[in-house]
């Protein structure tokens, strides 16, 4: 089943409340996905590169990591530990070296970017949101997902959102049927999915199209030609937010727009706490139709 929520602010007045509003939206979708939850949130752009990392043994993995990376790079690295995740702020140009170091230590990378942070774990959405303190986070836009697994195991890495390039993330409700073929084609282009999950293939597909020069709308349009199966995708980029549904459109979706925000929910329930929702324009996104907003 799965539940999706998304909120893209058009004005700055709600920025301090982004995490709080997204948390309420995420919890409202618990019935649709009680086994794991995740959120990608676009906060203030950092001076360097933000890298969200994760470990099943955070005490062991994160102790001394900041100092070790400082020594490795010979430049200041900051680390903020949040439960099983940590957000590193790295000097520009150090990503490859840090990736190699973390791989050696068995520490997973959830996403990188100037402003995006990703947190996802197994458990009820309310518990996942509380563990990471999502309510306290500010930002310009964010995307969340509650998962009821169908195509791969209930694990942290199987939870959404998936991030496959800088400041990009994707969540998915549905299941893809041609992901193995597309996975091989993407791997040849250098976009290698890290898991066996079908959704990660869709995320890699969007990343590959953006890297080839497509804009967000064109990349989303491409999913209708190249991906087969059931899908409602919601995609975030550094300054953008997009939605597309497959032509059959059996996975539910509803959108709301006011002067202040654009919101996405698998159901109307996700909008019940949004300010000004009584006067919002509310509609169901059309099948095989791309919607996107950029600031």
């Amino acid at each position: 089943m799965c539940g999706i929520v998304g909120l893209f602010l058009k004005k700055d007045d709600l920025r301090p409340r982004l995490g709080d509003l997204l948390t309420e939206m995420l919890i409202s979708m618990t019935d649709r996905g009680p086994d794991s939850a995740g959120i990608a949130i676009y906060g203030d752009a950092s001076q360097g590169l933000k890298m969200t990392i994760q470990s099943e043994t955070p005490d062991e993995a994160f102790t001394g990591l900041e100092d070790n990376l400082n020594a490795l790079l010979g430049a200041p690295v900051q680390m903020r530990v949040v439960d099983t995740h940590a957000v590193l702020t790295l000097p520009e140009g150090s990503e490859a070296e840090v990736r190699a170091y973390l791989a050696e230590k068995g520490i997973r990378i959830m996403g990188v970017g100037q402003s995006m942070e990703i947190f996802k774990e197994v458990g009820l959405p309310k518990d996942v949101a509380a563990r990471f303190g999502i309510r306290q986070m500010a930002g310009s836009h964010g995307i969340g997902h509650t998962r009821m697994a169908t195509e791969s195991a209930v694990t942290t890495l199987g939870a959404h959102p998936f991030s496959t390039d800088g400041d990009q993330c994707l969540v998915h409700n549905g299941s893809l049927s041609n992901h193995n073929r597309v996975r091989r084609e993407l791997a040849r282009k250098g976009f290698v999915p890290q898991t066996q999950n079908d959704t990660e293939v869709a995320a890699c597909y969007i990343s590959s199209r953006l890297a080839e020069g497509a804009n967000l709308g064109e990349a989303l349009e491409g999913t209708l030609d190249d991906l087969d199966g059931f899908f409602t995708f919601v995609v975030g980029t550094r300054n953008g937010f997009g939605v597309v549904r497959d032509p059959i459109a059996c996975k539910p979706a509803v959108m709301a727009e006011t002067d202040s925000y654009v919101a996405f929910g698998s159901e109307y329930r996700a909008f019940a706490n949004l300010p000004g929702i009584e006067d919002a324009r509310i509609w169901e996104p059309e099948p095989a139709t791309v919607y996107f907003w950029e600031r």
Binding site: A249, V254, Y268, E284, P287
Partner: protein, 241 residues
């Protein structure tokens, strides 16, 4: 047209009874539905719906129910005799399997509105999305706006009236339901064809439009129905499936 007699929309309110209000901020869904299911009549208002699922389902008496706001899945399902009015929009499966009575939605309806309905009248004043009236079995559905793809799939009887446009594959594998569309039809499904609008169809449509409060003339509509080629499997028609 055996279903018309008991589907008048909001014409004979019980003047003597005060409306009773149920606030969903303090009420469990099962309590709401069991309370309403136990009534023999009266006027009820449901507030603070916040998109909840399965509101006012399984009603079996001529209640007058107003749902303030928008609802989730399966609003007013399995309705019999009650008249349900939703002031907002509804999620998937509104008025599913309705037997009689009426459901009026001021806003839009999501997928499969009025699915499998046996009777009664469903009015959507906004748009309905895909699969509207799928497998309808005698219900009358009037949509003031547009309907999405695969609407009236395998529809067996009853009338689907659309003042706006219809999406792809209208009336695929249709049996004996009548489809009336005023706007454009993107495409017809397998075995669905345009048919002649005869005087009896104009009369059916005039009555439905009046009862649905729709501002349209029956002469503006086209009628679609079954070509009746797919009733029994015939190997010569295999390509039509």
């Amino acid at each position: 047209m055996t279903t018309m007699a008991n589907t008048q929309v909001r014409e004979d309110l019980d003047i003597g009874l005060q409306p009773r209000t149920i606030d969903m901020a303090w009420t469990e869904l099962r309590e709401l539905n069991s309370t309403l299911q136990a009534q023999t009549g009266g006027e009820w208002v449901i507030e603070n719906t916040r998109g909840a699922h399965a509101l006012a389902v399984g009603l079996q008496a001529p209640l007058e129910v107003t749902i303030k706001g928008s609802t989730g899945y399966y609003c007013a399902g399995m309705n019999k005799e009650a008249r349900v009015h939703v002031t907002g929009s509804v999620g998937p499966g509104v008025a599913e399997n309705m037997i009689s009575g009426s459901v009026v939605v001021e806003g839009d309806a999501s997928q499969y509105a009025g699915a499998t309905g046996h009777g009664g009248l469903l009015v959507i004043k906004g748009n309905a999305s895909s699969r509207c009236g799928i497998s309808m079995k005698g219900i009358d559905i009037v949509v003031h706006g547009n309907i999405g793809h695969m609407s009236a799939f395998m529809a067996q009887s009853g009338n689907l009236v659309v003042l706006g446009d219809a999406g792809d594959a209208l009336g695929d594998s249709l049996y004996e339901a009548r489809l009336f569309v005023r706007g454009k039809v993107k495409s017809l499904g397998a075995d669905c064809i345009e048919k002649e609008m005869r005087p009896e169809h104009i009369e059916i449509l005039r009555d439905l439009l009046a009862r649905a409060g729709a501002d349209a003339r029956p002469e503006e509509f086209r009628r679609y129905g079954s070509a009746r080629k797919l009733y029994n499997f015939n190997v010569d028609h295999a390509g039509d499936y």
